[in-house]
Symmetry: D2
Subunit: 441 residues, 4 copies
């Protein structure tokens, strides 16, 4: 099995200029294939269940990303396009209230039909229609809509990449809560067991910094990364690497989960109510801590970044360590000089791993774990959502959530960039979420 | 497809006397086959979901009835029996707290594994072991345990028959709440659309009546049908047939669901909170009322017994009609002179149907719909539960539930008898439950 | 302070025949006074709070019983009666849906207004109007309504007596859950601390027994005690006294609250979820078990009947003891030959107490604790609710509850009779509820 | 009745230097008196109830602010101080987990005891002890603790002022949800009914701005206003006044509460679930919209700032109006040049009122309504919470809440300043919360 999309979404600029639709069709096929490759190891039963409200059944993901192209590209722009099934516009609309009535999220796991096979047929139906639309002759006919079509297509591909990561998160949860401890893939790339390099700090001077997506760039960015703007950033220090499992176990051993003074109030209430004693997926045995991974139960790797912690746990750890989380501006400033690369989806490891730190910039900024920042997810000054129903993509979630940065071991490498803003509610733990410390000068 | 078990569980007495284990093995195979035939039309996905806490995924039913034989026959009595999987004793224990820790009921639908295929393997593993145990040579070795083994086997077969009905109820719910309105079987026996015969009343004089299972009979009965005892029954009238859909629509048209004076207090609270306006599975369209059946959406059949109503609705209708529900003793007294027969599982209709009434006894006492009685499910005087964990089978549910009588279109005909006590909480509607009126002299 | 109503509701028959309204007015005043005497020890704050949905603030009780006379006697029958406040018909209607919209029960404790003083004014307003209506001259004018008026008045007085007991139950809960352990009355009659007499059994032969209110009697009974009817009662034994605290502690010491095999399924779920380890109001200390009483915290009295247990606990104890609870028919048969008397409200003890058993009949059948029976609260054969809104008094609660018999230390002695049917849901513990064992021949 | 504290908390600097404890004692008495004056119109019953989890019974407030002085000043610093009651440290601890176990917030309204009188005794006990401690002779003895004592005293006074506002909010809720529509004070200063002046905009240039409490100032500030720091603020426009009731009714008339595209996702879910159709306390009648005020039911005043709206409603309105909410930095920059003054607690109006706008700065920045900003409540860069248990005062609430600025008609004027950061969860409506629009250049 081989998932390779390294070039995906970074198309050849020359080809793009001359034959954009051909290039896009190539990209479309690559991304769509990767999604199906991710699902290949699943049994039919694994496609169906929803283990908590946040999780969606894998077959729902497969259909929803397809619906996205149908609803926003084919229906409005492909002349004579025939819907695969009239009910799907309801069933696979996630949350676009201005488009149609979305099927209730917590009930996604109650639907045995459409079957997995039906949904693959749906995918192929839409794939054919997309190929047809993107053929040169049809593209010409679309006239002045062509640019809008290609923009929506590009959005749809980034959307599908997001759901690739969600698929891996959700599959991990579906397998991870099962008493039989099933294995998703036994051929995943193993990580070396070793301790992390000693924690070091990088210093950043103060100044007016530019944050957000460069308007001069032709690269893709979501609406929420705009507009680019200036922020004053005071001097700060950033840790050379994320907090490791070993360090987090020190926090646990020091009573971290029992000391209210370390916690935000909402976090402390949750710790007591939910009985949290360790990150999600951790299980204690006589020989110490184990965790569930997509390759099954494994000993906790001391040097790997701690993962599957909530913002509350990240914040409590930082308080315990006499530090704090970086703001998203600080993180972005630091990331601007770090080359993109690391433990991403393409590595087929699907688990954070230890990595040796380097001298000239913070390590593991990209990949491994999404890093909780101390910034609430709010609009940038002057933010404008996309027009129409696509405006519901990001903007309406700008309350009650925190920003995470940098991508993780389930994110496609081609999907990430320094300005990328991910977001989850502060209690969420099923994402591959860790954190890195910062401190004042 | 053909489900035939008419002879099941009514074995040839002579053969039984000479070679009981051979006869039982035959019965075992018949019952087990029927269960699998019921599941044959399902897609793999249909086996997995749990649409409400009361519903279990079909694959869970398949495993649980198998576990019953493993836990109560093979493990204690089959020397050298090897468990199929150590975790199954937890996963497929429904509620036998003194046996092992049952897996939480509301989480049955969160388990994608074991797969459907795994569960069929489990069935075959247990079936082989059962065949081996029931072979003449092994049976001899069991010595004085033989009688206990055969009694538990018989209980296990009746248990599996109960789950055949539960499977049909749960499949109906899984399909019935799906917006795609899937069809379980399109080849089910259709019912004629016609009006019910006019309602008539049968009169019963008072007297000391014998109720419960005859201790002189060798026929099977559950512990809760014992001991047989006497009850004084005052004179009463019993309706010649169950209340029909047409009659129930009259109740609805007369504001039945909006008039608190007709309802028990708990029922009225539920009506308002849940927004009930009709029986479960009913859907109103411009052309009138439709309902979901296992063959898909159909017009409501005016002459068929109303079905999928709660005890509260049955009671409210009776109040509206100036009548009441019969007690379980009254029902049993009337049923003693009615031959068993009717619209049962073997008819492959799986939906109540109109039937012409007869002159000499109430019609449709058996089959079509379980009939809510006015009796709370409580132990008979002198009731003793079975010894050991099997004592949890029935006795511990004797609070908060009402008795239903007579079997339904999903019950195997060989499973029913006049003394049979079914029970559900007063709010339950997903069983094939209807009712029949009674009144005072 | 002195609460004396021994003669209440047992009026002089001769006086009643000649001057019924005068006699009733006397009774009215006595009952109304007792209610206010019960509230006299309260601080204003104690009148206001609602410590759980089942509890009503004392001021609400004071107003509701007054509303009962206003709504069902004064408004329909007292010419020119002026309502005290138009909103009270909403605020103090408990559950009479056909009369007006009841104010939501769980929100009774959110109302700081009307004040306690307002409510006493309301009482006096209604008391004056009742006195006026019951004056000889006005009574004459009512003509053929007179009998209905007096019947409703009598119902209203029994209703107010029920609320006297509820007041004591609710005050006990309000004080009992307060960390300051406040004392309602320090002058309550103390009970001797002693062990109960050894448990003995009384034998009853079988036969057709008459159960329910004698239609030839002029004494009051609720609709739910009617109609009198025959039941066949098999031979049984009844315990000579209720189960004592000492015996219940033996059950606790034997792991009673940790053994699922002793419990009804609903009861076991509740035990685990609520963490029950002892009856309500019990608190363990280094010196053993204490309980909250209306005189404050006291050592558990070993010989007093166990109190504040649910039906589930009563049933589990009986299972543990190899016995069962009596049916309500059995209890009534036994009670028919027992003189009424015992530890009632008039004793001003408000706590069950030990009492020596007697030779010729079961002891403590009346008073001390309401005794859970094994009978679900369902209508007697031929039951008819009162006409109109008063029909909602009892009948609509005939599902989901169990019958209790015999009255308790908070019940007025004049309020009880052998046919009296009290009822609570099986989980309720805040009533003065205990139990007595029965067994088969 | 007269509440006057205009000079409070702005003590004479010279007197302060020479005799600080005398000056502070004066301030202490003023603030404590105002709190009691606020409660004077209450009936005893009004002190007791808790109408939702967010609301505390007034008697709880009276005790809690007293407990604050006892726990943080008297116990650690007043030699020989005797606690009023040992249980109060549990009952009246709001949320200081490191100090003692707080009594559960949602159960505050279940406590009828201690009585209101007990709590006033508690206040007087603590007041005497505070007067004694602050006497010159005792103060000398405290030696180097003196500064800490005075700092904590000052914090306690500001704390009590916060609870004065909470008292008015909670009293409004207690009265506002009562069907009898009780009046708190009928002598409150009435507002003129008039339309707001036309909305105008003030322009602000960009630059590096200083935000937060000036470290050179001796004036009081909470820890969360620190440290003062620089932020880059882009050019923006700020509305000349808050959004008025008239304008908000235009939003309502335009379907504001029915259009998902205007709402944040969490807000829209809440609107549907809670059935919001107008601000809290609004009631529609045939003659239009009314609202509950502390003087009873009144017609909505078109020119007054809209009040009792959640952050979600404020944000939805802003979206509808093509604008946005200001950030807290923008608000503070604008407020720096606005003199403090307006419709505060001292005006005894307790309701926002119309006010004519002025030419040279935005109007009604202070008083009338707290203004929701678009900023999540997070720590300033370099924030340090107070040491010890007092560190739980503010810092632990820095997740899930939004910042509000400027004070309201229930805030003491002496309590407010441009740097003051108030915070509530985005769904909260029972504070006197309104909002003002901002927009980009």
């Amino acid at each position: 099995m081989s998932v390779s999309q390294s070039a995906t979404l970074c198309p050849d600029e020359t080809a793009l200029a001359s034959e954009p639709s051909r290039v896009y069709l190539q990209e479309y096929r690559k991304v769509r294939d990767v999604t199906e490759e991710i699902c290949r190891p699943l049994a039919t039963e694994d496609y169906v269940v929803q283990t908590m409200d946040d999780v969606s059944p894998p077959k729902w993901h497969l259909a929803h990303v397809t619906w996205f192209f149908e609803a926003f590209v084919l229906k409005p722009f492909a002349k004579g396009y025939k819907c695969f099934h009239p009910a799907y516009d309801h069933l696979f609309n996630s949350y676009y209230e201005t488009h149609s009535t979305p099927y209730p999220r917590p009930a996604r796991g109650l639907l045995s039909r459409p079957t997995v096979e039906d949904i693959y047929s749906y995918r192929h139906h839409v794939d054919s229609a997309m190929a047809h639309l993107l053929s040169s002759s049809r593209m010409l006919e679309t006239g002045k809509d062509q640019s809008e079509i290609l923009q929506r297509l590009r959005l749809g591909l980034h959307h599908e990449q997001q759901h690739q990561e969600l698929l891996l998160m959700d599959i991990k949860h579906i397998f991870g809560m099962n008493p039989l401890a099933p294995v998703y893939r036994s051929d995943l790339a193993p990580a070396e067991y070793l301790d992390a390099d000693p924690l070091d700090w990088f210093s950043y001077t103060d100044g007016l910094r530019t944050v957000g997506h460069d308007p001069a760039s032709s690269a893709f960015a979501f609406d929420n990364e705009n507009p680019q703007h200036r922020e004053y950033v005071a001097p700060f220090w950033l840790a050379s690497r994320p907090v490791s499992n070993r360090e987090f176990m020190d926090f646990m051993d020091d009573g971290g989960y029992e000391r209210p003074e370390l916690w935000l109030s909402d976090g402390w209430n949750l710790v007591r109510q939910a009985g949290w004693k360790a990150p999600l997926y951790w299980e204690e045995s006589d020989e110490g801590w184990y965790y569930r991974t997509l390759s099954g139960r494994q000993r906790v790797n001391p040097g790997a970044p701690v993962c599957h912690v909530s913002f509350y746990e990240a914040d409590a750890y930082a308080t315990w360590a006499g530090a704090r989380l970086p703001t998203e501006a600080e993180w972005e400033v630091a990331a601007q000089s770090v080359p993109i690369g690391g433990n991403f989806q393409e590595k087929h490891r699907f688990q954070p791993a230890p990595e040796h730190t380097v001298a000239d910039h913070p390590s593991q900024m990209f990949g491994d774990v999404w890093e909780w920042t101390g910034s609430a997810y709010r609009p940038y000054p002057g933010f404008k959502a996309l027009p129409g129903s696509l405006g519901e993509y990001n903007g309406k979630f700008m309350s009650g959530q925190m920003v995470l940065r940098g991508g993780c071991c389930a994110t496609p490498e081609s999907h990430i960039r320094p300005t990328y803003r991910n977001f989850f509610p502060p209690h969420a733990r099923w994402a591959f979420s860790g954190f890195r410390l910062a401190k004042e000068d």
